[in-house]
């Protein structure tokens, strides 16, 4: 939902970043206001995940230029965990497996850390279990996933669901979801998209990185951005996604 007077949550100006000594992001500009849904599309290797990880603070991504304000603060002055505690959430394209750490312990630790940061009450294991089960229901997720190690041996789709479960528990102000739809079957996509819609409200914003228009049938974007060569080369409304679906990326590149 676009409201021109809504609070600016994320203000990216001329962001440049390197990974492994190679400049990948070459000047990204993006403004996200509360209540909005942005879709970021673009060919493989165009820098979408790099952008997402740079925002989340991955140590391998070196910011070489530009600025990012998150909720009015200099994002790069904050450590990754501080960004998370202030409401930035990255749904990973490839969620990390952590054998030996139970999903329930991990989720509870993350949840309680966030609660503490917000000055709210923490939950003990039993209370948390109930709370988490409620959120899992929303995502049609088997409670058995609480007892397993974090993402360990989860199928591709199960990992993505687990990411959205974390989003549901942590209630971020800005969720950057990197290809959450990839790996989800048709039914799961509907359920997960429904979950994201349910979680999204006027006070927060969602940035969806996706390759497919299908996801955007469920979560209707206010803006669609196309990345190419480490920049946003085109921005449009939701119709742009349809156009990309039928025409591919070449015409955007040619026009850029």
């Amino acid at each position: 939902m676009i409201r021109p007077d809504a609070k600016v949550l994320l203000e990216v100006k001329g962001l440049c970043a390197k990974v492994g000594g190679v400049e990948i992001l070459k000047g990204i500009d993006l403004t996200v206001r509360a209540g909005e849904v942005h879709a970021v599309m673009g060919p493989n290797g165009s820098g979408k995940s790099t952008f997402a990880k740079a925002l989340a603070g991955h140590p391998s991504y070196e910011v070489t230029g530009g600025s990012v304000a998150f909720d009015g603060r200099d994002l790069f002055a904050l450590a990754p965990e501080e960004r998370a505690r202030r409401g930035l959430f990255l749904g990973f394209q490839y969620p990390v497996e952590i054998p030996g750490v139970s999903n329930s312990a991990f989720l509870r630790l993350a949840y309680n850390t966030m609660q503490a940061a917000r000055g709210k009450d923490e939950l003990d294991p039993l209370e948390f279990d109930d709370f988490a089960r409620g959120k899992m229901k929303l995502l049609d997720m088997d409670p058995g996933f609480l007892d397993r190690s974090v993402n360990d041996g989860f199928s591709g789709g199960e990992k993505k669901r687990n990411e959205i479960l974390q989003m549901a528990l942590l209630e971020p102000r800005l969720a950057i979801l990197d290809e959450t739809d990839s790996g989800l079957d048709i039914d799961a996509l509907r359920v997960v998209a429904g979950g994201i819609n349910h979680l999204h409200g006027p006070g927060d914003a969602v940035v969806l990185v996706t390759h497919y228009q299908r996801m955007l049938n469920y979560i209707v974007p206010d803006y669609v951005h196309v990345m190419g060569g480490g920049r946003i080369v085109r921005t449009g409304g939701k119709d742009l996604a349809f156009e990309l679906e039928s025409r591919g990326y070449d015409w955007v590149r040619a026009a850029a």
């Binding site: 989340a56 965990e81 998370a84 990973f92 969620p95 952590i98 630790l109």
Partner: protein
């Protein structure tokens, strides 16, 4: 009887000085002690020039002065409650090597299960003890086993009769309290055919004294019997701990070792498991969690001497600070030990740039129809995992602790005593905080 021979090293001489052969008037026992004394006098102190001690320099131990232990300090059971597993309603406590009946509880065991000190057991189970004591842990070539054996005075005896099952875990707690003293912990476990028991062998330091604990444990697992052996070494950080455990397995016996090493400045654990019958099944789990300037050396020997044996070994080290972990895992498959199925894994986590691990599998296979695998890894915490946790709000320290804990959990979670899983888990978490900052 005073030693007639002059020991090979002033250190051994000091240990043997004033050595009075305990006299029980039991001739076979006196004989074994005398043989051990002779070996203790003749054997040399191992140095890093000995292949078996290449990485473990025990010079600091040989420089430790010794004082005779003063009278057993007055301890209350509440001093020990942090070590005792609530499940182990049966436990024996030894303080500075001396049996402390007032800190032990061994009443109420069902018929067919005996948990008691040697002194008591020699009267009732002399024949069993004679058959096994100092018969499995050889002292011919092992100085520290010889030293322990010639000082053999008191120890723990656990016996489970044929087809009986010891209803609760049995904890044998050796607690050391005095600076510059030596203790010779000793355990003999005999599970007769078809018997079953769980042993918790626990070496603990009450404070931060520098002492020496020289332990020997022997476990005889009868035909079709099952022994689970949890071993916790949480000696004082300045202490020295050298231990040998010898396990003999009869046909179709099952033995599981879960050895956790947390304490001591220098520690050495030899675990020698020998199949003496077909079809036995062995699990050997080890976890060393060390930091500062600690050195923890584990040497294991899995001796597949008979066909159809199966062994599974997982040894893990978590090394912080400038600590040094050593693992040498030898697997022997003797001629004729066909259809042996053996797998060994050594996994190591280095938490700092100065931490060090030496790990060495040693396979000696003399049979052709066998399955043997081994693997070793040495690594650091996975930075992608650390970032994933941080991206969910966890501090870097919290993230590292959780991952370190998870690394150790694989070993800890298999310990067959729930309260120990919890207790050790907490200790690992607490220790990794220290390790992480080191």
């Amino acid at each position: 009887m005073m030693s007639a021979v002059v020991a090979t090293h002033p250190y051994i001489e000091a240990l043997l000085k004033g050595h009075e052969m305990p006299r029980g008037g039991i001739s076979w026992l006196d004989e074994r002690r005398a043989q051990a004394l002779e070996r203790a006098n003749a054997l040399t102190v191992p140095t890093t020039r000995d292949e078996e001690w290449r990485f473990t320099d025990i010079t600091p131990l040989t420089k430790l002065r010794f004082r005779p232990a003063r009278a057993t300090p007055q301890l209350a059971i509440s001093d020990l409650s942090r070590f005792l597993a609530p499940e182990a309603t049966v436990h024996l406590t030894f303080v500075d090597g001396v049996f402390a009946p007032e800190l032990s509880a061994n009443a109420g065991l069902p018929y067919g299960t005996v948990v008691t000190s040697f002194a008591a057991a020699l009267h009732t189970h002399g024949a069993v003890i004679e058959q096994h004591l100092a018969r499995h842990a050889g002292f011919e070539k092992e100085l520290f086993a010889a030293l322990n054996t010639c000082h053999l005075r008191d120890g723990a005896f656990v016996w489970v009769a044929r087809n009986r099952k010891c209803p609760t875990p049995v904890q044998i707690l050796f607690v050391s309290t005095q600076q510059e003293t030596v203790a010779y912990p000793r355990i003999l476990v005999v599970a007769e055919a078809g018997a079953e028991c769980t042993l918790i062998e626990d070496h603990a330091g009450l404070g931060d004294e520098a002492y020496f604990s020289d332990a020997v444990t022997e476990v005889a697992v009868g035909e079709g019997a099952c022994v689970r052996h949890v071993r916790v070494q949480r000696d004082a950080r300045a202490a020295f701990h050298i231990a040998t455990c010898a396990v003999a397995l009869a046909k179709d016996a099952r033995y599981a070792s879960h050895a956790v090493t947390l304490g001591a400045r220098i520690s050495r654990h030899n675990l020698n498991v020998t199949q003496q019958g077909e079809g036995s099944e062995v699990r050997m789990d080890g976890l060393a969690l060390i930091s500062g300037r600690q050195l923890a050396d584990t040497h294991t020997l899995m001796d597949h001497a008979c066909p159809n044996g199966r062994s599974r070994q997982l040894h893990k080290c978590i090394v912080g600070g400038a600590a040094h972990a050593v693992f040498n895992g030898k697997i022997v498959v003797r001629p004729g030990a066909q259809l042996t199925d053996s797998a060994q894994e050594s996994r190591n986590l280095l938490l700092s740039g100065k931490a060090q691990v030496d790990t060495k599998p040693q396979l000696e296979i003399f049979a052709d129809d066998v399955k043997c695998s081994h693997g070793a890894t040495v690594g650091q915490l996975d930075q992608e995992q650390v970032f994933y946790l941080r991206s969910r709000g966890l501090s870097p320290n919290r993230a590292r602790n959780l991952l370190t804990y998870a690394f150790g959990a694989e070993v800890i979670d298999r310990i067959p005593v729930p309260s120990l899983i919890e207790q050790l888990g907490e200790m690992v978490l607490a220790r990794t905080q220290v390790v992480g900052d080191a």
